[in-house]
């Protein structure tokens, strides 16, 4: 999907130009189109020859990857709070770019108990919808097995969200990050529906979809994503898969890693270690 051969794309585009034009104008007329401010916004083309997307960063030289070592996660939720602050995610307990799930098996109970920081009990423990902590709700229970699992956008190689976007407002970059163009998104939320991982949410104030960018503004400046930066136990690993000695390459090489919902064919790029059969 992501890499179409040039002639095919051009041919399709040409076809679309005709078909699209015909239909659009029959319906509304070209004059109406010209009056659409968002549609006619022009942007300066980048100078050719220079590195893209910034002068110090060439995206053709990287292929990012993310690792989650669930055996290390302590559920402190510093990542969740840092992400909200770093990326201006709405300060409520319902919309997240990253979150942490807790899986608890109790003795004599077949059902796995799953909660996340947005659960009302946990919000009560944190005391506000802007700060997060896991309530110690299983303190007195006979816990057979329990663990935490951090979640975020999987930046899939074949992202279902990009496939369904009608405008091209979301796309996968050359360096393997799925981004959203907030200046072009029409706010139809088809992508939110299409993501099997629940990684996307709709920002009501901005009227656009939003999700994790792996802190693209940080990684292109040589920094780690905010969640990785603040994780006190190293449960989140980030790096360049091109560099065979990078943290993520070593993580993938030295562990038997798995991805979430491989059956969707999305081919995620967040690799997990230490998760259980219930995690999806």
């Amino acid at each position: 999907m992501t890499k179409e051969s040039k002639p095919t794309l051009a041919a399709r585009r040409a076809f679309l130009t005709k078909l699209g034009g015909a239909a659009t104008c029959a319906a509304a007329g070209a004059a109406a189109l010209a009056a659409i401010p968002g549609a006619s916004a022009k942007t300066e083309p980048a100078a050719d020859g220079a590195a893209f997307p910034t002068k110090d960063y060439d995206w053709t030289k990287h292929q990012w990857g993310f690792g989650v070592d669930a055996t290390k996660c302590i559920g402190c939720l510093r990542c969740v709070e840092a992400c909200k602050r770093e990326n201006d995610v709405p300060a409520n307990a319902h919309q997240f770019r990253t979150w942490v799930e807790r899986y608890v098996h109790l003795e004599g109970d077949d059902e796995v108990h799953i909660d996340s920081q947005q659960d009302p009990v946990n919000i009560e423990a944190s005391g506000s919808e802007k700060t997060f902590r896991f309530a110690n709700r299983y303190k007195d229970a006979k816990v057979y097995k329990a663990f935490f699992v951090p979640k975020l956008c999987n930046h899939c190689t074949h992202p279902a969200c990009v496939q369904v976007c009608p405008t091209g407002a979301t796309y996968r970059t050359e360096d393997g990050v799925v981004l959203i163009d907030h200046g072009y998104c029409i706010g139809c939320r088809y992508c939110v529906q299409a993501c099997p991982y629940g990684a996307r949410y709709f920002n009501e104030e901005q009227g656009v979809s939003d999700k994790c960018t792996w802190c693209y503004h940080r990684i292109t400046k040589g920094l780690q994503p905010a969640c990785v930066e603040v994780c006190p136990v190293g449960a989140r690993i980030f790096g360049d898969q091109r560099d065979k000695e990078s943290p993520i390459s070593l993580f993938i090489r030295n562990n038997r890693v798995q991805v979430l919902r491989p059956e969707t064919g999305n081919a995620p790029n967040v690799f997990y270690v230490g998760i259980d059969k219930e995690v999806n």
Binding site: T17, G21, T24, T43, E86, A146, F148, H217, R218, P232
Partner: protein, 325 residues
Amino acid sequence: MPKHIVRLILILVAVLAVAAIAKPILTVDSFYRFGHYRANSVPEIAAQEPVYQTPRYCYGCHTERRAQWSAGSHKTVTCEVCHGPATGHPQSGKLPIPTDAVKLCTLCHEAMPGRPKSQPQIQVAEHSGGQQCTVCHNPHSPKISSAATKVSGDAAAGKQRAAACASCHGAAGISPNESWPSLAGQSAPYLVRILSAYKSGDQTDPIMTPLAKELSATDIQNLAAFYARLSCKSADGSKSGGDAAAGKALAKNCAACHGETGSGGNPAWPKLAAQKPGYLVNVLKAFRAGLRKDPMMAGVARGLSDTDIANLAAFYAAQNCQSTK
């Protein structure tokens, strides 16, 4: 062909033509450059400014703190985890020093099913009896080393050695004047730490430095044991310029480490109750000016005015040193 059909076809062709012309005009410039998206949105997203700055940003100024933190077990917990994102600091203000250490520390250290065994965890109710974690633990280097808490000196030997100190600190460890500290009842680990610091040169003072250089490690242990056992003397009505009531309000910020009335807390840190007010004023001013170096105190003293210092000194000087609060 009838006229109306011809005209209809002309209209349809015109519409198609307009559409074909409109499409490239309305397509934003950088669209299709790399794929089916606006290429310029990538640099736009990349241009966003980071909020979290990484510890490297903090090193520039907080060098002492860095040394302490990077040597301790919290070296994987970066500055911004507890103090929040550093963007805008110091230009637009201070970063928060967490006041409720229990709430903060238990985010990671409360015993909770699901946390890996390797993570140090406490039963909150049993661990500290509701005291702030910072009473015993230095958040920047939280491990309490046994060397710091246990002083195995010989008090009798210490007494002999202390004869040389009596002229300034008093024979019974109660300072006869305002500028030098009383030592009676002071925390032994603190005394060991501070004397060792004078000896090593980490801490300097025109009078104390040469004296401390003469001391052996055993001498220091003995002295500490001797002074710690002496009975302190509570406020004898030493007059000071400060307002103790105002000092009490300020002292809340110090309670986490020094205890509510200045006589409890981490043994690595000094007791303040019934200390000479003049000495307290001098020391706080020295911290503030950076003449005396301590990673914790430097930050705390930086924000104090002369009046604040006087008030704090008055408050601590007036406290009962026998209580353990």
